[in-house]
């Protein structure tokens, strides 16, 4: 009898649809996130099949078409973005460069996020001595100018895609490490962690099942912001001549190459710059959507929007 009033509000909830349908519906509710996802899929597609399709065109020089301006349709559709200082079509080059750019950025971000988060979880949950040791390691990396580190490493190892990923990953580790540790230190004092300890949960279980899911949204947001940073850092290395070397191309390198022609032929740097902006913007929009969609207590915001649209 006494349980009746407390029950009513709980049973009023509607039946919940299956998980994939639910996510599609939530994606539909946020049109910006949907557009961002489609754009990112396009970029991935470019990276996968671009070099095979347009690899040759992108490298073929055409001195008569040097710095050809964009939107001159009589040259053919490949030239609609214009051409660079050696007359190579920018459109083709951007598509081909997507592969290197994505490999470097995604590789560096994933590697640094993975290592940084793991070390951060250990530093936050393990004994104080281990935690201190890991933090001092992070301090060492942070106090070392990242460009100097890159110059030394790449000078010794020689510039290549793998080595650029390695250097960029190392310099970005402390960002994830410090954020993760700070969050873990707070979350480990929460009551649901005590509850898990009372049940006898192992440290591994507590960290992976209870703490990591709470930290993850923050880390995802940082990772997407870092994506843009890494793309630009890569272009800086390329500009110094120790990053990706021509004839290999990346968006960053294209911006760097266009820099000297900026006053006469703005499109050389503009199009690859736009590609970087759109990619990072899409990542940000998508991560923002994911942060809400993955949080059971926030999810209703998207689901409500979906319902009013329908």
């Amino acid at each position: 009898m006494s349980t009746a009033p407390a029950m009513t509000d709980g049973t009023a909830l509607p039946n919940e649809p299956s998980a994939p349908r639910r996510f599609l519906r939530m994606l539909w509710a946020d049109k910006f996130a949907l557009a961002a996802l489609l754009f990112l899929l396009l970029v991935v597609l470019m990276a996968v099949i671009g070099p095979a399709l347009l690899g040759e065109v992108a490298q073929k020089q055409n001195l008569r078409g040097r710095n050809a301006p964009p939107f001159e349709w009589d040259r053919g559709w490949l030239w609609w973005m214009g051409a660079d200082s050696l007359g190579r079509p920018l459109f083709a080059r951007i598509i081909v460069a997507a592969r290197n750019t994505m490999t470097v950025a995604a590789g560096a971000v994933l590697a640094s996020a993975l290592i940084g988060t793991t070390l951060g979880l250990i530093a936050g949950y393990a004994s104080r001595r281990v935690g201190e040791a890991i933090m001092r390691l992070a301090d060492v990396i942070m106090s070392f100018p990242s460009l100097l580190l890159a110059v030394i490493v790449l000078y010794i190892l020689g510039p290549s895609v793998t080595n650029v990923i390695l250097v960029l990953a190392i310099t970005r580790i402390p960002v994830y490490l410090r954020t993760t540790r700070a969050e873990v230190l707070e979350i480990r004092e929460r009551m649901f962690v005590s509850a898990a300890r009372v049940m006898g949960a192992s440290s591994r279980r507590i960290v992976l099942r209870h703490i990591l899911p709470v930290v993850l949204p923050t880390l995802m947001t940082i990772a997407t912001l870092d994506f843009a940073y890494v793309m630009l850092a890569e272009s800086a290395l390329s500009f110094l001549g120790i990053g990706i070397q021509p004839p290999e191309i990346t968006w960053g390198l294209m911006i760097a190459q266009g820099k000297e022609h900026l006053t006469r032929a703005w499109w050389l740097s503009f199009w690859p710059g736009l590609a970087i902006i759109l990619t990072t913007l899409s990542l940000n929009l998508l991560s923002n959507w994911m942060r809400i969609a993955l949080d059971p207590t926030q999810r209703w915001r998207l689901e409500m929007r979906g319902r009013t649209d329908a």
């Binding site: 349980t3 407390a6 049940m199 006898g200 192992s202 209703w300």
Partner: protein, 539 residues
């Protein structure tokens, strides 16, 4: 129509949320006269604070919207005044004190500065304000008032902070004082003092007092009249005594019926071999002795209530028994084995026998796990209890046992009410089939009627499954109908141990007597008699 000091007429407030329009209060009317105390009684979510927030212009608009009504003060409708005029009235003519004084005192300024500021903000000279501040702080009973003015908020105890808030509210000699759950965060003995102070000050100044509370005891102690609110509407209003004696509305009757401490006291179990023997447990944090040699016996299936005010060490004791904290000394023999000296592997196996239900289920349930995941985690950790194929069926069984439905298994904690969440936490504890459950203030955060339901559930579980309980509470009436033995703690020591009947009917120690006397009875006549007694003692 006679003019009242402050009158709310037909007030309706809506909030626009993503879940649609929520009508926070509907057609609420009440008034308060000079020298009178009105209590607004209601449980969480009843809308009891909304009308006073409207008086002080504290409702954010949007999302809030006042759809109808007026607030008459001084012959004017406050809702039609401009922002500058409202500010002039707020604080000067109508003042407010809050539940948690620490979050409403600025931590970077001294208390004296803050009291003076409320006065200078309304145009008093600095010198006069300072003299007045000293008088006020003396009046509200802060020891060494001159030095107190130069201290920061964190240097005072909870009760003293609430006294300071009262001093600040009274600085401009307001006509109306609104108190929103002013004593909820305080210990019972401190609560009684603060309420007595409010009553005295009201007698001196003749102000009207509006007190918002969920506690029938507070109403009985201080209010002349009461309005009872339930889901945004006033269900009953009237003289405090009459409402208590002959409640008209079913909700009021339910609320009064749910007040703890009126049932029969249970007869203690016959003495048997204790399952848990705790001896001389000591725990110090720095120089602060949280536990200074605590010991007790617990028999199988027995319920031991541990009662004490904040800082008495009762929660530390619970954490140490479950090895969430390590003790400095002492032993706890669980079926002959010392809990404090078990190697990790044996401790892990023993986790099954000892479980805990925490104070606030909102925090003790991981918000990112479904009810099924929360409960079945017990078997993921201890796979020997139940094969994976049977998890679903057993979760459904446990949910039914605590009064929830099997379909609830796929939901997340935030989709439940506070009482339901605590049921989930209890189901999780039961999943391990424990022999002892430690409840750390497990019902303190819940509304009275929900509290009664959870206690009923625990009693049922105890009868059916023979589980022993250590029930930690700060409030004596809660444990009266439920416990076999009561242990009263103060400053890390056990001051009194005995059966419920001994402790409630013939308390030996002065501290227990004070604790019992300070507890507020929901019956206004009992409270009036107690007040008369206190006055007689003082005279």
């Amino acid at each position: 129509m006679p003019d009242h000091l402050l009158e709310v007429r037909n007030l309706s407030v809506e909030f626009h949320t993503a879940a649609g329009v929520v009508k926070a209060v509907r057609n609420v009317s009440w008034h308060v006269d000079r020298g009178e105390t009105l209590a607004i009684l209601g449980e969480s979510g009843s809308g009891k604070s909304v009308s006073t927030a409207a008086i002080l212009d504290l409702i954010d608009m949007p999302p809030g919207r006042i759809t109808s009504g007026e607030i008459r003060f001084d012959g004017r409708d406050l809702l039609r005044l401009g922002a500058a005029e409202r500010r002039d009235i707020n604080g000067r003519r109508i003042a407010m004190i809050f539940q948690d004084p620490l979050s409403h005192l600025n931590p970077v300024y001294t208390v004296g500065w803050q009291i003076v500021e409320t006065m200078t903000a309304h145009g008093q000279s600095r010198a006069r304000a300072q003299a007045e501040a000293l008088r006020l702080v003396t009046r509200v009973g802060i020891p060494d008032p001159a030095a107190a003015l130069r201290k920061y908020p964190h240097e005072f105890s909870g009760g003293q902070r609430q006294r300071l808030m009262i001093a600040m509210a009274l600085a401009m000699k307001p006509d109306v004082l609104i108190a929103d759950e002013p004593t909820t965060a305080l210990d019972v003995t401190v609560q009684a003092e603060v309420l007595a102070l409010l009553k005295e000050l009201q007698r001196e100044t003749g102000m009207g007092v509006v007190i918002i509370t969920h506690d029938l005891g507070v109403v009985a102690e201080i209010a002349d009249r009461v309005v009872v609110m339930n889901s945004g509407e006033i269900v009953e209003a009237g003289n405090t005594r009459e409402v208590y004696r002959s409640p008209q509305h079913p909700y009021t009757r339910k609320l009064i019926g749910a007040a703890p401490g009126k049932g029969d006291m249970p007869e203690p179990l016959p003495r048997a071999e204790p399952v848990l023997k705790v001896r001389d447990v000591v725990k110090t944090y720095g120089t602060f002795a949280a536990l200074a040699g605590v010991g007790f016996d617990l028999m199988p299936g027995e319920t031991l209530a541990v009662v004490g005010e904040s800082g008495s060490g009762k929660s530390t004791l619970a954490r140490i028994l479950l090895r969430l904290d390590e003790p400095d000394a002492g032993e706890a023999l669980w079926k002959g084995r010392d809990l404090f000296r078990l190697p990790p592997a044996e401790l892990f196996a023993l986790r099954r026998d000892l479980q805990m239900v925490f104070q606030d289920p909102t925090q003790s349930l991981n918000p990112r796990m479904t009810v099924f995941q929360l409960i079945s985690e017990a078997w993921a950790i201890h796979p020997e209890i139940l094969p994976k194929a049977r998890w679903r069926a057993r979760v459904a069984e446990l949910l039914a046992q605590v009064g929830l439905k099997p379909e609830h298994a796929s939901r997340y904690p935030h989709q439940f009410s506070g009482g339901q969440r605590q049921r989930i936490a209890i189901a999780r504890a039961l999943a391990l089939e424990p022999e002892l459950i430690i409840c750390d203030e497990a019902v303190s955060a819940l509304d009275v009627s929900v509290q009664a339901q959870v206690i009923e559930l625990l009693t049922k579980l105890r009868r059916e499954m023979g589980i022993a309980f250590i029930f930690i509470a700060h409030d004596l009436p809660v444990v009266r109908d439920f416990a076999d033995h009561v242990m009263v703690m103060q400053k890390g020591r056990v001051v009194e141990y005995g059966t419920v009947r001994q402790v409630f009917e013939a308390p030996r120690e002065p501290y227990t007597q004070a604790l019992l006397a300070a507890g507020l009875d929901p019956d206004p006549e009992v409270q009036a008699a107690r007040r008369a007694e206190r006055v007689a003692i003082r005279a």
